[in-house]
Symmetry: C2
Amino acid sequence: MEKGNLGKIETKYYTFGEVSNQLLLESGEKLGPVTLAYETYGLLNSARSNAVLVLHALSGDAHAAGYHEGEKTAGWWDDMIGPGKALDTDKYFIICSNVLGGCQGSTGPSSLNPVTKQPYGLDFPVLGIRDMVNAQEKLIDHLGIDCLLAAIGGSMGGMQVLEWMFSHSQRVKSVIPISIALRHSPQQIAFNEVARQAIMADTRWNNGSYYGGNPPNRGLALARMVGHITYMSDRSMAEKFGRRLKDERQPFKFTADFEVEGYLHHRGKSFVGRFDANSYLYITKAMDYFDALQGQNSLLKLKDSRMKVLVIAFKSDWLYPLYQTQEIVRICKKAGLDTTYCEIESEYGHDAFLLEIDEQTHLITHFLERVKNGD
Amino acid sequence: MEKGNLGKIETKYYTFGEVSNQLLLESGEKLGPVTLAYETYGLLNSARSNAVLVLHALSGDAHAAGYHEGEKTAGWWDDMIGPGKALDTDKYFIICSNVLGGCQGSTGPSSLNPVTKQPYGLDFPVLGIRDMVNAQEKLIDHLGIDCLLAAIGGSMGGMQVLEWMFSHSQRVKSVIPISIALRHSPQQIAFNEVARQAIMADTRWNNGSYYGGNPPNRGLALARMVGHITYMSDRSMAEKFGRRLKDERQPFKFTADFEVEGYLHHRGKSFVGRFDANSYLYITKAMDYFDALQGQNSLLKLKDSRMKVLVIAFKSDWLYPLYQTQEIVRICKKAGLDTTYCEIESEYGHDAFLLEIDEQTHLITHFLERVKNGD
């Protein structure tokens, strides 16, 4: 099949939850007005039955595919979204929004608090993944879609997929959670907490009040460095960097002299230009609190569902190990759902969901065909 | 066998390398005078043939066993060292010294620079594991020991064991490297670099000049937190903490509310009271530079050696995965050495070498008997 490109894309914005109708959060607090930045690719059919919601990971955004005006790099999942691709815009209407709590156009801690007319900072309420998904549901309402054909996403996107599955099962015909767990293990919480501490230890963080001044770039870069180690596999790092020194002539000095160190520094530094430290705190906390099965008789709700499930995992992903995706599969089978599970060989570690395009394309293309045809 | 206790122990000090006879370092720089803090347990026999050198890990020290005056907690490997234990003080003369570059009595960046009469700080030369071992050799000379019965240690202690094996093969009859690699992979370097960056990002670090003022405790605690995650296994964390909250009534707040977070904070905070941030930088760098096989025809040197080797690894250790210890074994076999390898079942991760006492005792007791008897 010939693959095409989407070309120029513009981000759109939807605002809801004005004072009289604020979003009720999992914590019991209310938030509003709320803006979601979102993009769409392809066309909604007349039956409004071909919508696929793409959910992004921790550092992702609404710009999943195509190019913004003047941009040289396409959206973060462009290899998967477009004409003839896994999420085929000739067939499907693709939606991707920046999560609530984010910093790429959606309402988050860097947004203006309507009460104080200042950025929220730590006055922003602590969020759950459920709140992100409830906000997405408002967007789906706004777009006039009763039922999504599919919800798909990797990593934290996978958590949102699970939330759609367990809490909004009437509004989604199929789900594709990738490289994710039903809930974070203490090890996953621990890595996130180290990242948060790195941000909060930066004196520039200033208890979350740094907007208009100097943001805690060093702390945020450090948080990103920790993250990056967990996104790669031991093997992919070994293949990419080995033990090469940046400068062979000076092996005994006290700076970052291995190539892997330089790479991490670079990834940390380039991250601070596009991400807000407080958003990093709020979003990682939402991930840690998430428990797909917590207190909602989730399995009972799915009892009469005809939902189809495709769970994808990658063998070298040590951040979300296979036993966790297998647990998702067990739960889905227990609920009687039509569930397909695939463990893909890959050396990319957790990052594989962004990089292993061919295998995922094959699986997802056929799965969505089945869902569309009601097989 | 009845196991006894060593009782009260005192740390001793040996100083060498005065100006006319300084220690030549791997970097080409010279350092002196050098003091090593060390402890001994048991008695050296008249043939001076029963000495076992214990090498400590990154955060360890010379106090491997017994109690100092007034102490309530015994030395870090007390379960392994004493009458009737794996390193049986009724049979062996055990030596453990704090590494060069350390902060527990041996010369390191917090020591006074004899030239400036101020603490060295970053004027301390960058060290290699080889330098630590060369300093230990001076101590062995001082104690009148020509040949060690064994050198044993886990983690960074294992690196020193490997260095004894490859560079001082005439002075050691057997070696027991535990939970270690021939060299750091980029992933291991990356974790160390994140820890170093955490320290250096703390404004109190002040380019290494903080002695007499406020040390970079927050950065050092953060470095230790990163380390602790890598020392435990996913499973041991899950069994120890699960997803329990510290305070069930307040799940939605923005502090460390999972038990695992509180544990990491505690470990970080208790570490800063006993460790110097600059030593952490120097020692982790020495580990990253270490390459047991680098440029010394190491294998050739071992060709006619009758050295015995016992390599120990733990299955849940993901910081030093089994493929790395297996590589040590392959190299030893290739060199024709009498090599025993044991992978021990354990859920403790990298920390297992400090915790899995029974299995190690069994293996080491029999191994040392063989070495002693020249079997």
